[in-house]
Structure formats: C-alpha cells, structure tokens
Symmetry: none
Subunit: 420 residues, 2 copies
C-alpha cells in the first residue's frame, strides 16, 4: 500500500518547529509494510492545503495528514478536506459531547469557539482524541482514503497507534518488514560500503542503509516478507552474515550504546573501571556512568586537565611529560596506570589530546589524541587524528577510547596499537 | 523571494530519522525575509528526486535541497540534479584535492569510491564542506536556482550559514527582523510569563516566545522593522527591559552557554576551578572544559562515584558519610572543600545525588541532588529535587550546579542556600 504524508502548519516552514510527525507516522506505516512515497509540508493556507491533499490523494492509496484541526483561524484543514471530497460540514452531536466533556474534566466550560471542532464532513468517521479536544477524521470515497490528525505530536501519535494502525490492519495490512541495526565505529561509511556492499546486494528481500554519525556508522537492515522464510528469519541471517564480515568494528546491535556494551563486558568479567581524562574533561566518566547500575563497576576517576594534576593525582612522571609532552602515548599509558593505582580498579582508560581550537603545533596538530587502557600488568595505547570542532574531536575521542576498552575486554587488537 | 525545501533520504520516510534540516533551512530563510511555500521529502529514488526538484524549481524562485550527496549507492541527488539542468558530470580536480585532504587530515587514504564526490555538473559551483567530505553545489540557469547540500545536519548547517546565506545576501536579500535571546535557568516558563508578560505585550513590533528546555527557558525576542527605530535598536531596548525584570535568573544572552559565562567570570576574577562529581560522573568537568581556553582556569577534578574514592581522593570524613549519607549537604560541602585542597584551585563545585532509576528511598528519592560550591573559606550547598529520566536528572543537576557557581562568582545568593 502506497502512502503519502502531509504535515500542515506555518510553524513548520518558518523554522519555529522541526516536523517530528512525519517520522512518527512513517515508522508506523513502515512496520505495516506500507511504502511512504512522499512527505509534503505546507503552511496553513487553503490553496496550499487543497493542492497538497489532492496531489497526494491522486498519487497514493492513502494519505495521512497532520495539523490544522484546532479552533484558531489558521486551522483550516478540515474545511479544505471536506471540499476536496465534495462534502459539507455538519454538527456531530456525539463529537460535540466528547469535546464538551474534555473541558468539563478540566473543570472548565467549553468556549463557544470549540463547537467548530464538532463540525464533521458528511460521511466522515471521527477519530476520538484521548489527550486533546480536536477529534481526527477519516474521509473515504471511491479509492481515496484520507486520515486527518491534529498536529500536536502527543495527540497525533496516540490517535495513530489507537485508531489508524488498527484501521489499516482491518484493511488487511500486516507487519511485513523486520529491521535490524548493526552499530559500528572506527570505520568510514564508504569503507563499510566497500566491505559489505557486494554481499548485501546479493541478499534477497533485504535493503541496507548506512546511518553515519560522528561516533560511527549504523548499518540498517530491512527485510521484506516473501519466499519461504519469515522476514524475521531473513533479517536474522542477514544480520549474522554482515556482522561477521564487519567483525571487530561491530560494537553493538539494535539501539544498544557503546557504554552499555562495555558495562556488560565489565559485569560479565567481574572487573572494575576508572578513568583518567585530560582533553575530554570528564566525558568518558559521564558516558560510563550513563548506564543504570554502572556504580557496580565504575569506581570513578581523575580529570587531570592540568599537568600539575597529571603528576600529583595520577603520578605521571615529570620526566615523561618533559620528554614526550602531555599528548603522547607514554603519558596516556602512565595516566591509565596511575588511575588503576589511585582508584584501585582492575582497568582504567585514559585520554590526552589537543581538542583545539588553539594549542596545536606542526608535529602535534589540533585533533591529535592519544588514548590508553591499562589492565593489570598489560596496557596499550593508540593514536588518533580527528577532524572537526572542539566538541567533535572530544566526542570522537571518548567513543574511540571506549572502543579501545571494548576491544581490550574482548582480547581484540587494533591496527596502530602500542603495547607497553 | 519564494523558496521550496526538498529533503532527500529513505531514512526520513521510513521512520528512522526525523527531518531537522527543513526547520534549520527555513529559519535561515525566514530571517532573510524569504518565504518558504512548501517542503517536500522524498526517498533516494531517481524518479522521485527528479520529480520533486523539477516541481519545486517550477514553483519557487530558489530551491534548497538536502541529502543524497554521499558515496553510497543510495546517494543519487547530484546525478539527478545534473540531468534536471541538462548538464553532465565532470571531475573537479580542486574538489578532489579537498576530499582527499579531508581523509589525509585523519591519517587515512581516500577510498576510491570517494572520487565520485568530486564529480561536479558542468558550470555548477562547489560549496566547500568544512566538516565532512561531500561538497555542496549551486546550480543555476535561466531563472532556476538550486542549492544542493549534504543531509548530515552538522555539515548542512555549516554550509548554510557560511555559504548559502551570504550567497543570498549577495542576491539582495536582507535581514528584515532582528532577534535576541535571553537565557534563563531556575525559573519555570509560566513564572517567567507572569513576570514579563505584561511588559512584553506593550512592546511595539515585538514578539516574545518562550523556548523551554530541560536546562532552562530561553526567551526569544523578535522585532520587525517599522516606525522610526531600526529593528536592531527596538530589539536592544526590548532585551534590556525584559532582562532587567528577570534579573538573577538570566545567565546569558544570545547563544552563550552557562559554562562560557562561568568561564568568563573566572577569567575576569583570575580564579581557578575544580570539580568533585558523584552522580554526574564527569558532566560538570566536561561542560567546564567545553569552552576553548578553559585550561587557563580549569584545573581538573575528581570523579568520586564510589564512597571509597570520596574518602580517599576528596577526604570526605567516614563519619559524615555514615551520619548524613552520601547524598547530603554535608558530603557535598566536604567534596567541594576536598577538591579545592586536592586540585589546589580557588574554587570547586561538587554534586552528589540519586540519578536513578534505582537507589531511591522514601526520604531520599530518585531525583534528590545536593550540590555545593567552595570558595576559599566560604562554601554553600543547595538541595534540588529533579524529575525525569537518569539522563534528565544528571543534566539538570550539572546546569543547576554551574548556576550556583555563577551566582557565587557574582555574589548572588539563592533561596534555599545553606552556607557552611
């Protein structure tokens, strides 16, 4: 079934609000195997609304529209939709009673202006609004199907889940796609595409998309029904095949975060962790402790932003700082080893780097980051050169250091690792 | 000038991602007095992209399109746009050099597949991409003007501000409205509205909007041209009048952050700062060091997530922990005082609280947070009770602690402060 989504509201086209309704509608339709062929956003102007609705209805089997069902003068969607379907508006007593009771529940009398919310195109089905006052509508005639929903996200989503989805299932739609996500870090989108592209293209009824962000690339696997296998089984085997190819760059599946994975590994191995941070200033500790229950394995750590604190709190040797500089593998290693001793943890992870914008030199440019993991007697350090803003560099540094910790816990080594 | 916005990407129509680019583009165009007449979102399919671009170009004076400029198979926008303008793609050596250097900056060789990013429609102007590798493009012929930008928001916004806006100003667009933002924290939207509403309603050609977030409420002041004064002068005086009424709840103007303001005050007063964090796990340190040059006044600190580290690294007395518990004003004060001594800083700020979801009790529920600031001999602590998720509670705790530091530096006291 082909869908179009129309979102209505001046505030969506003047930069006041980002449109989250299209994504909310699209995710429900996608799960039902519906294909959204286009999304359109128009201001609250009768001509623009009429044009977009007629256009969408002529292209798609069904249209979901959100916005413009309130009472204020710029809320015109319902009148326009009635005209598009050649119907006139009539007062619906049941709807009026519901709108009135909404106000009474709040101990207020219904303002006269809200009567307009009970005006319904002839033959249209009202969709009850559990949260707000404006009801939704379903309009249908020869082959055209239109859902009108309010623009307020909370109301819109509730009506979508409680009415539109069941209505469409009543029309025979079923969950027909299964999705999996493989989360990777330390590899670029293009390198990933070269790596798994050939295999991915041979997978039946499976689509791959790459979702790059500053902390890594998520690979989304979407499998359609068909053939002898269920979409779920198709997705499982696609996920396994691709994850096996990507190998050590895979840090998680689904929406699990890197800190959750690291926390899981630490818990499984009964180990405790501490941090020693310079340029990230606490981001590593913040991320490790973002996981509920992380106090079971996170001892804490030291933010050694100044060299003086590196020496006094982490026992980094003055000679090492002098000889190699604060941003070096040697200092990163001594920081991690210092944190293990100071915090009496089994492992420690450290970061020292130049986040910029100032402080860079020719041989130590902005973006140069050294990170290390100390684990008992063993320790390893890695060098990275990140691009972007101070924030981007610090975000990438923390992700990369957590991944070094993950690889250490899994016994995986990485190109360019230096072992102490 | 009439604009249309086209956003491209399957992930925007299957519920994977909400489209934030349309709002980001629209806000820039609105400030230039441009009118956005429609937004369209289409999947990465040549026919859909071609149709939407042709349609938009025929309706509007200019079109801004975002998405589909990467290297993976689903990135087709550039090829389609070239066809729409009847141009063929040719390799642009300068662009290729820039793409290659992006990789070299990261110490990586450019994968062959990225050569496609340097293919440019004849006569098109490339738009440099400071953050990522995919360049943007401007295509223009008889009356049609198209900007192609990548879909990654950070890259898209940077190219919008650094190229598209200046380009359009070169075409004669001018700022017709002036905006000011007053940033507040520690006061609710409704309390703010009661405080400044009456005055705000009397201001000529001025609109006020409240932008609440978890860290505070921004008051947006938007002034139109007209009358004898320039919108800029109108905005300046409106800002001064409203800020004077809001008083100590104002922490910044424009887009300045609380950590920038605190950094400015520390620099002016020639003082150094350190942190002692329990439930925030490093967020305070991370935020203080987010400011370029913060190494001049930030010494570092201790993440004392475990009570053992509170005692050993911050010298919190075992008796205090036993008598008052880790989440108490007494412990917060000893943590801050311990950080001052340990880090040899002039001031220190501390946080100890229950971020949840577990660990709450009847008299110490999830959301209870104590924070303290130690300054030489003086010290003060405050109790807060925050609602929401673990992340929400930690975010509010850090904001509130930084504001306590700001007020301390300014000699402002706050209701409910406890002085040691």
């Amino acid at each position: 079934m082909r869908f179009e989504i129309v979102t209505i509201g001046a505030e969506l086209l003047d930069g006041t609000l980002a449109d989250t309704n299209t994504a909310a509608i699209a995710s429900r339709l996608a799960r039902l195997g519906g294909e959204v062929v286009r999304g359109t956003t128009v201001p609250d102007e009768p001509d623009a609304i009429r044009e977009s609705l007629e256009d969408a209805l002529s292209e798609a089997d069904a249209v979901v529209a959100a916005g413009g069902l309130g009472t204020t003068s710029d809320d015109l969607t319902k009148q326009v939709a009635a005209r598009v379907f050649g119907k006139s508006l009539a007062l619906d007593e049941d709807v009026l009673a519901r709108v009135r009771s909404r106000f009474e529940e709040r101990g207020r009398a219904m303002p006269e202006i809200n009567v307009s919310q009970a005006m319904v195109p002839e033959g249209a089905r009202p969709i009850p609004n559990r949260i707000g006052t404006a009801p939704g509508l379903v309009l249908e005639d020869d082959g055209r199907l239109l859902f009108l929903l309010p623009g307020v996200p909370a109301e819109m989503v509730a009506m979508l889940d409680e009415y539109v989805v069941p209505f469409l299932e009543g029309r025979g739609l079923r969950r027909t796609t299964e999705e999996r996500v493989i989360r990777t870090t330390g590899i670029s989108e293009s390198a990933l595409a070269e790596m798994i592209g050939p295999t991915a293209r041979r997978l039946a009824r499976t689509e791959i998309s790459y979702l790059p962000s500053i902390t890594g690339v998520d690979v989304r696997i979407s499998c359609r029904a068909g053939g002898s296998r269920s979409p779920g089984r198709t997705a499982d085997s696609a996920e396994e095949r691709l994850a096996a190819i990507i190998g050590p760059y895979v840090y998680a599946r689904g929406n699990e975060s890197l800190e959750e994975v690291v926390g899981y590994l630490l818990t499984m191995q009964g180990k405790t962790i501490s941090v020693a941070e310079s340029c990230t200033g606490g981001l590593l500790g913040f991320r490790l402790t973002a996981v509920p229950g992380s106090s079971d394995y996170t001892r804490g750590g030291v933010i050694a932003y100044s060299n003086d604190l590196k020496k006094r709190l982490l026992k980094v040797k003055a000679g090492t700082l002098k000889k190699h500089g604060a941003v070096s593998g040697e200092v990163a290693l001594e920081m991690a080893e210092g944190a293990v001793k100071r915090c009496r943890s089994d492992l420690a992870v450290s970061i020292t780097g130049i986040a910029g914008p100032g402080g860079g030199t020719k041989d130590k440019p902005v973006g140069l980051v050294w990170m290390a993991v100390a684990a008992g007697e063993k320790a390893c350090a890695r060098e990275e050169r990140f691009a972007g803003s101070r924030d981007a560099i610090r975000t990438q540094a923390a992700q990369s250091a957590l991944d070094l910790l993950r690889r250490t816990l899994l016994g995986l080594t990485q190109p360019g690792e230096r072992r102490a």
